[in-house]
Amino acid sequence: MNPKDKTTEKMEAFKYLHSASVPDEATLDAMSRAEVEQFLADAGCDMKTLRARIADRKRKFAGRYALMLARQRRLAGKPDGGPEPSVPDTKEGIIAYFEQHFGANLPLAARNFKSADYSELRRLYLDLVGGEGAATDGE
């Protein structure tokens, strides 16, 4: 066996080991959560950091999901069927409501919503809380 054949054999062995060790989608689907975590740990993931990240993303994406649903309701022109929400009659009232119910997860927090005027805040409130009176113009 010449050296080139030996090299080719080693490349093929590498490819075989690689495909055996890196799971495809079907294999991943069949894996339990413990097996997935084991794979991630073996692949160099710091599970403690990942879990902290997941908790953070769960809050963040919940806000994005609520906004997506609000947008879909508005585009469909359909209120969610609930009673008309009572809109706080001051800017401070809406801000207090947002802070109480959304905390740091409000999708609009990044847009400095506190500096918006009452009519804008009222529209945001109705978009997020639902009910008639929600804005129908573009975002």
Partner: protein, 202 residues
């Protein structure tokens, strides 16, 4: 309506809730990055990406584009991940050589580099680099598994060209149950060494 973080658990209930689904998606992204990552163009960019960042990009796209009720959100996210990684892998093309003068030397180089049967200089360098990388990983693997004679025997048999489990059992002197357990251990050791080697390449 107020934001309910548990709503995401309902969305991914079929996959054990948000946490379990997110971990599985990170694993899927990691596997795709390991498969598509390389040394040239967009494939080299993939080596710089973190699997969890790719998953976040998929969630961003999911909520930006929306989805219909009843759609399997997990499969949708996985498709976004796959498409994103494939797009990045194809995003940067290799530099093309174009002949701009009548010089004999440049003509020869041009013909050599554009001959579809001839490997261009970058391609040759890439193959050599890949080869070095493969050899390095195999060398590391055989060095690291010396503490586990069964895994070492299994790896040696695979390097020798054996693939059939029955043949490997004979060559590595393993029973079938031993082979199964050893193969599992070998996969873990290889994945660990692969991850460490990829970190070195970043």
């Amino acid at each position: 309506m107020p934001v309910d973080p548990d709503a995401l658990d309902g969305l991914l209930a079929g996959r054990g809730g948000f946490e379990a689904a997110y971990e599985k998606l990170v694993a899927a992204a990691k596997a795709l990055l390991q498969t598509y990552g390389g040394d040239s163009g967009g494939r080299a960019l993939l080596r710089q990406l973190e699997a969890a960042d790719v998953v976040d990009t998929a969630f961003d796209r999911l909520f930006a584009e929306g989805f219909s009720p009843g759609e399997d959100v997990y499969l949708l996210l996985r498709r976004h991940i796959r498409n994103y990684i494939r797009t990045v892998a194809k995003s940067v093309k290799e530099r093309q050589t174009v002949r701009v003068d009548g010089d004999e030397e440049s003509t020869r180089t041009y013909l050599q580099q554009t001959d579809p049967l001839e490997q261009s200089a970058p391609e040759r360098a890439l193959i050599i680099d890949d080869l070095e990388y493969c050899m390095k990983v195999l060398f590391r693997l055989t060095a690291k598994v010396k503490d586990d004679p069964q895994v070492l025997a299994l790896v040696s048999a695979i390097i020798e060209g054996f693939r059939d489990p029955d043949e490997i059992c004979v060559v590595a002197e393993l029973t079938k149950p031993q082979y199964d357990a050893t193969f599992k251990r070998m996969k873990r050791r290889f994945a660990q060494i692969l991850a460490a080697s990829e970190e070195d390449k970043k």
